[in-house]
Symmetry: C2
Subunit: 391 residues, 2 copies
């Protein structure tokens, strides 16, 4: 297997974007090519979830490869729900590692503004089991609400801990010009004050408005290449060193212990093993905080903290920008936004910036090893990536 490097990277703002889906995909790709200093690729992957249903467009990758004038390079659309982005990066990794292709572009793109928030929730709920979940009105927020209640009872997580995740990630997002939300919040403002019930109503008890990520449009692009090509370009050598993926039961209620996220655990273990590093080696991580509880639980399942102790690490400030292991420096899904198919590529973009030392006001000092966890379904298909900055 050949080693694989990230040679270019870019993203649009994650926000509400006016332009069509294929342009949301194409714009970051143009910037990433500029960043890499290349004008030609061998293959394209586009991660997207809603093109067919939300935007009435299929064959998105074929459209994008042409609008970027990159034909005759092959192109596919990759869908793995909210983990589509990291899944596409995994395909890109394989394409280069196998030796079939030398330069592979991976785009994630989503345009959600065609639908309102209720329709968006219904759309994302098409990820659940059609006959055992969806038909009973299950949505991702409702699953997350039940999951959070169990977690609170079992491990002593409180509404205050959840709020602390939101406050931290909104704070980080304020330092990220490409984030969807530039809105500093405080624990007092969102749960302790008399106005909190109005400012921050329940969405799926115990989850409130500020526990849920926004519905965003956005695109991101990472270009991967062989070591030989990466060296020629003279860019910092950021290696995609570990790729892990695991699945779990489609229905959440079929899991022996629903508070365990076994797919996160399995995917992370593989991504660390392949890279030859330990969770404690990681300098900066992007976790999939579609709901605040998920950042806490994933920080445990990937091995950063003991099971049931993620909220304690959060309390200690370990995961703050200035902590021992900053998590979601980009603002995370909570603050940066969650354009579903683009999220995993956006996570990788943040890690690449951090490892290059290009993260501006939210730069983590001397970051050399970065990690991402991209969470599909309600934890039924998870992809983790480990990035290492080489000399």
């Amino acid at each position: 297997m050949r080693e694989v490097y990230a040679i270019g990277s870019a993203m649009t703002s994650f926000s509400r974007l006016e332009y069509p889906l294929s342009e949301i995909a194409a714009y970051p790709a143009m910037f990433a090519m500029q960043d890499a200093g290349i004008s030609k690729i061998d293959h394209l992957y586009v991660a997207n979830m809603g093109g067919g249903r939300v935007n009435g467009q299929t064959g998105l990758a074929s459209a994008v490869v042409d609008s970027l004038s990159l034909t005759p390079a092959g192109a596919e659309t990759i869908e793995n729900g909210p983990a589509s982005g990291a899944s596409a990066l995994k395909q890109g990794w394989m394409a280069v590692a196998s030796g079939l292709h030398d330069v592979v572009m991976v785009i994630g793109a989503e345009r959600m503004r065609e639908v309102n928030n209720l329709e968006a929730t219904d759309f994302v709920a098409t990820l659940t089991h059609p006959l055992a979940e969806y038909i009973y009105g299950v949505t991702l927020p409702s699953l997350a609400g039940m999951f959070t209640r169990l977690y609170m009872e079992k491990y002593g997580v409180t509404a205050r801990h959840l709020a602390m995740v939101a406050v931290k990630n909104h704070g980080n997002a304020c330092l990220n010009p490409f984030a969807h939300l530039h809105q500093p919040i405080t624990v007092e403002g969102i749960i302790d004050s008399p106005e909190a019930m109005t400012n921050n109503p329940f969405v799926a008890d115990p989850l409130r408005f500020f526990d849920c990520c926004p519905v965003s449009d956005g695109g991101a692009c990472v270009i991967l290449a062989s070591a030989e090509t990466a060296k020629k370009l003279g860019k910092p050598m950021i290696r995609l060193a570990g790729v892990g993926q695991a699945t779990d039961t489609h229905c959440v209620h079929e899991r022996a212990e629903p508070t365990d996220l076994l797919a996160v655990r399995g995917a992370a273990r593989q991504a660390f093993k392949m890279a030859g590093v330990k969770p404690s080696d990681v300098d900066v991580a992007e976790l999939h905080d579609a709901f605040t509880i998920l950042e806490i639980v994933e920080s445990e399942e990937v091995g950063f903290f003991k099971k049931g102790e993620g909220h304690l690490a959060l309390e200690r400030g370990d995961t703050a920008l200035t902590g021992k292991l900053p998590i979601n420096t980009s603002g995370g899904l909570k603050g940066k936004g969650h354009p579903v198919g683009a999220t995993g590529v956006g996570q990788a973009h943040e890690i690449i910036l951090q490892l290059r030392g290009d993260a501006g006001k939210r730069q983590v000092k001397n970051a050399k090893i970065g990690f991402t966890c991209n969470f599909g379904g309600f934890g039924n298909n998870v992809v983790c990536l480990t990035f290492i900055r080489e000399k």
Copy 2:
């Protein structure tokens, strides 16, 4: 790069199926596992085009990997329009060739019966350019109609040649118990008789009803593995020896010469080169005859016949079951059916049967080298595969 072998293969009937999309995907997978003699895989790809839009189901691969009890294997859905199936086989090839995975399952599945034929045509038209084609009412049959007219004028193809493709492929389909249409037709019956205008009305002049493939439901599965694993299983050694892919302009009208299918040409050239064989070495081929004209044109562009002479080879009977190079022995999309995302995997299944000598009444004698062409969009993203039977 490691060599990659097809160790198991199966399909459902391509027809109108009662069961849900995830089961259309799961059933052939169970038979393919039985065929291979395995009960465990490392990774799953599901090729599908309409899950989100037509069936209201996303994250299909995550659903299928669980319904087959194959968790924690990773899983992705691959979409490349009507070429999704061969695109997924390409991903499977890379996963094994790279050494990342050893046994990879590739499923193609589509359930179209949620929509009527008009809605199906509209759905497939979401492949066209949203602002330069779709919005003006362009559909795949209308593009194919205009393309056919040009081809007739330029190369002397007649309505009779088109009918001969349909007659041949309906005949082959009658020998395939898994084909959608078991309806023998004659050139006289569909174009020469007084009843022809009623039996076979125009769909998009010059294309008539019998020039267009049916709208089918169906699933197919091919399991790929390394040489080491394939040898252990003691199955015939069918190597996926060549993988080629190329794209062309999204809009058909932007092509310098619209009667040239450059993506077919490019993909085929790669698939032959990688396999180290020539077009004239091929014993049996499945081409993407969504419209009868396409079989003729692809038979030229992949290199079987000179440009503009495919219809002459057809006239001579070269592409008949008993000819020098039988094409679409399965019945093709025309006779076997075209469950969009499943088609490419179904093509591979036919070639695997032929190379194993398991094709029953439609067996091509001593078939050792097989070829498939899976055509996405209106030729904007094409994937070709070469299979070789080893001793």
